[in-house]
Symmetry: C2
Subunit: 354 residues, 2 copies
C-alpha cells in the first residue's frame, strides 16, 4: 500500500475568534483546547500514529512558520507568502509530495479542529486511506450529525463502496434551519468536516481538470521548491490566482468523490466561540466561565476573563470574551459574524487590534 | 425671612454604578455628568446662587472628606465615621445649624442628582424655602412625571397651599408598571426627588417625635461638634442606631408634609447606568457610545470604553461598562440590580474591586 502522509492546513486567520485570535497568532496556535495544547499541536499529535514524525507536512502562512516549528518541532513546513485558500494550499502540498511518490496518500486535516475520540478518528482515516489507496477517489470524511447544525456544509451519501464508504451523492452548502432539520432526520446526510484523503496523483489530476490556472501555477512553482527562490516564485505564481476552496474548486465538480460516513468522534470545527464552548463542561445554569468572572442571574453564557473581573448580570446566551486590549460582547447566535468586527477594524486601520 | 442654607448629602455608595463607582470614589465624585463636573460639584454650583459660599454644608463619609474639599473648596464638611442613612445625616446637619440659627431654612439636596434647567430648579427651591420659612412644614420637591417610571417613589398631592405648594396626600413606594401608569395619568402624583426644604427647628422637632433614638444621639453629639472628640462621639452615638431614611423615619408619619408640584426641570436621580445614559445624545441606532468602542448591528446599547476596544455585535438594550480592572455586562432592564454584583464581590472578599 502507498505511504500515508498527513498534510495539516494551518493557514487560517481565525477571525471569528477575535479578540483572542490575532493575525500574528491565529486561533490554531492558541492554547484554547481543553487539553491546554494548541489546536494545531493536538491535530499533529492525533495523526502521528498514522504518519510518524517523518511524514507530516504543514502548509501555513510565512508569518507563522516560526510558530509551527516551535509547537511541533518535527513538522515540515511549506510556507505560503500569500494565502489563496485551501485548493492552493493542498496543491502546494501535492506537488511537494509528488516528487517523492505520486502514489502517496495524503490525509488533509485542518489545523484548527477538535476531536475527542482520537482512536475513532484514526480508524475512519485508515478506512479512507485504504479506499483512496485502492481507487482513484477523492475521499471526504462526513460526520454523522448530532444536531441540525446550520454552521456546517452537508454531504449526501450515494452508492456504497466499502464498510463506511459511499460515493458522494451531492455536496450541500450550509443550510437554513428548516433544511438542516431535514438533513438531520434523513440519515443520509453527513457534516462536511473538511478532512480529505486521496492520492497525490488523483488530486493533481482533478486540479488540472477543474482549476487549470492553479495547476499551471503549481507546475511553475514545483522546480523552485526547496530552493532559495521558492518564496518569490510562489508569491508571483499565487498572486494572480483567485482564492478558491478545494470544495468549491474541485470536489463539487468531480464525479469521483467518496464520503466516509463516520460516526461522530467528538469532532468539532471550533468554528466559533460557541462551538469552542461546546468542548467544556458548563455549570448548572449552562454557563461556561473561564478566568476571572462573576455571573449573576445569567444562563447559557460563555465568559472568558483575562485577568480583569468580568461581571455579567441578568444575561442569557451571551458571549463575553476579554483579551488584554479588547473585549467582545455578542449573543451566541451571532458568533459567526465576529469576523465582521475584524473587517471593520481593518477598515478603520486598527491593525493593532486584528 | 430666615437665612437659607444648603445641605448636600454626599454619603452615597453609588454601588449601582459599579464598576466605575467605587467605595473610595463613589459616583457623586466622578466626572460622569455631561458637563465634565462631578455630580457633587454640579449640585454645589447650582445651589450657590441661593446659599452663597458661606452657607453650604456637606455631610459625607469620613473617607471622602478630602474629595469634598478638593472638589468644592468652600464647602463646610460634616464627616460621618459611619453611615446611618439620610435621617441621621440630616439630623447631624440640623444640630450643626441649630447653633447658629434654629430658624434657618435647610435645603437638603442629594449630591448625585442631575438637573438640566438650573434656573427652574432654583425657582422651585425658592418657593419651597418661602413656604418652609413661613410655616412649620416639611416641604418635599415633587417632580411632574415625564413617564410612568417604576424606579421612583411617588407623592400624591393634597390641598393647595401656595402657587405650586400642596399638602402631601400620601407617599407611595416605587410602583409596579400598572400602578406607575395610573400615577402618571392621574396628574396628582409627583416623583419623590429626595430634595427637601424645612426649618432646622421643624425637622428637629419631627425627629424628636418620630425617631427619638436618633434625636437622643444627636443631642449627645451636639456638644462635641467642632471639637477633637466629634468623630469618636458621633461614631459611638451612631453605632447603636438603625439605618433609616428620612422618608421612612419621619416624612411618611407626619401630617405637616408639603410638596411643591414642580415642573420637570430635567431632574434625574442618576440612579443607574440607564438613567445616566438618558443625559447624553444617542446615535441613530439608539446607542450611547463613550470611549473606544465598536458597535455592529446593535441597538439601544450603552457602551463605555476605558482605553480598551469594546466590540459589541448584534446586541440590543445591553449595557457594557469597562473600567480598568473590571467590566460590567447587563441588559438595560437589570441596571437596578448592579449592586448585587457589589454585594457578591464583598462576600467573596474582593475589596479590591468594590
Amino acid at each position: 500500500m502507498s505511504e500515508v502522509y498527513a498534510v495539516i492546513l494551518a493557514g487560517g486567520q481565525g477571525s471569528r475568534f477575535w479578540p483572542v485570535s490575532r493575525q500574528r497568532r491565529p486561533k490554531q496556535f492558541l492554547s484554547i483546547s481543553a487539553s491546554g495544547e494548541s489546536l494545531f499541536q493536538a491535530t499533529a499529535r492525533r495523526i502521528e500514529p498514522m504518519c510518524g514524525k517523518d511524514r507530516l507536512l504543514v502548509v501555513t502562512n510565512v508569518m507563522h512558520k516560526p510558530l509551527i516549528e516551535e509547537q511541533v518541532t518535527y513538522a515540515k513546513v511549506i510556507a505560503e507568502p500569500l494565502a489563496r485558500n485551501t485548493a492552493a494550499s493542498i496543491g502546494l502540498a501535492a506537488i511537494s509530495l509528488e516528487r517523492k511518490d505520486p502514489q502517496a496518500v495524503m490525509i488533509v486535516l485542518p489545523a484548527d479542529h477538535a476531536v475527542t475520540d482520537e482512536a475513532a478518528q484514526r480508524k475512519v482515516l485508515a478506512e479512507a486511506a485504504a479506499l483512496a489507496g485502492q481507487k482513484p477517489l477523492l475521499v471526504t470524511i462526513g460526520i454523522k450529525p448530532s444536531s441540525p447544525n446550520t454552521a456546517y456544509g452537508y454531504i449526501k451519501r450515494g452508492q456504497k463502496l466499502s464498510e463506511s464508504g459511499y460515493k458522494v451523492g451531492r455536496f450541500f452548502e450550509k443550510p437554513n434551519e428548516e433544511r438542516a432539520k431535514k438533513y438531520f432526520e434523513s440519515g443520509d446526510f453527513f457534516w462536511n468536516s473538511g478532512q480529505f484523503v486521496w492520492r497525490v496523483e488523483v488530486i493533481l489530476r482533478a486540479i488540472e481538470e477543474y482549476m487549470p490556472d492553479l495547476y499551471q501555477a503549481l507546475r511553475t512553482i514545483q522546480p523552485a521548491l526547496g530552493t532559495d527562490r521558492q518564496d518569490a516564485v510562489v508569491e508571483k505564481a499565487f498572486s494572480g490566482l483567485e482564492s478558491v476552496s478545494i470544495d468549491f474548486g474541485v470536489l463539487e465538480h468531480t464525479r469521483n468523490c467518496a464520503v466516509i460516513a463516520a460516526p461522530n468522534f467528538g469532532w468539532n470545527d471550533v468554528g466559533s466561540w460557541d462551538a469552542w464552548a461546546g468542548h467544556f463542561e458548563h455549570d448548572a445554569d449552562g454557563n461556561l466561565v473561564r478566568g476571572q468572572a462573576l455571573l449573576i442571574d445569567s444562563r447559557g453564557c460563555v465568559v472568558q476573563g483575562n485577568g480583569k473581573m468580568v461581571a455579567v448580570l441578568g444575561a442569557e446566551n451571551l458571549i463575553v470574551i476579554d483579551a488584554h486590549d479588547a473585549t467582545l460582547v455578542c449573543p451566541r447566535e451571532r458568533v459567526q459574524d465576529v469576523r465582521k468586527i475584524v473587517d471593520e477594524l481593518k477598515k478603520r486601520g486598527r491593525n493593532d487590534l486584528i
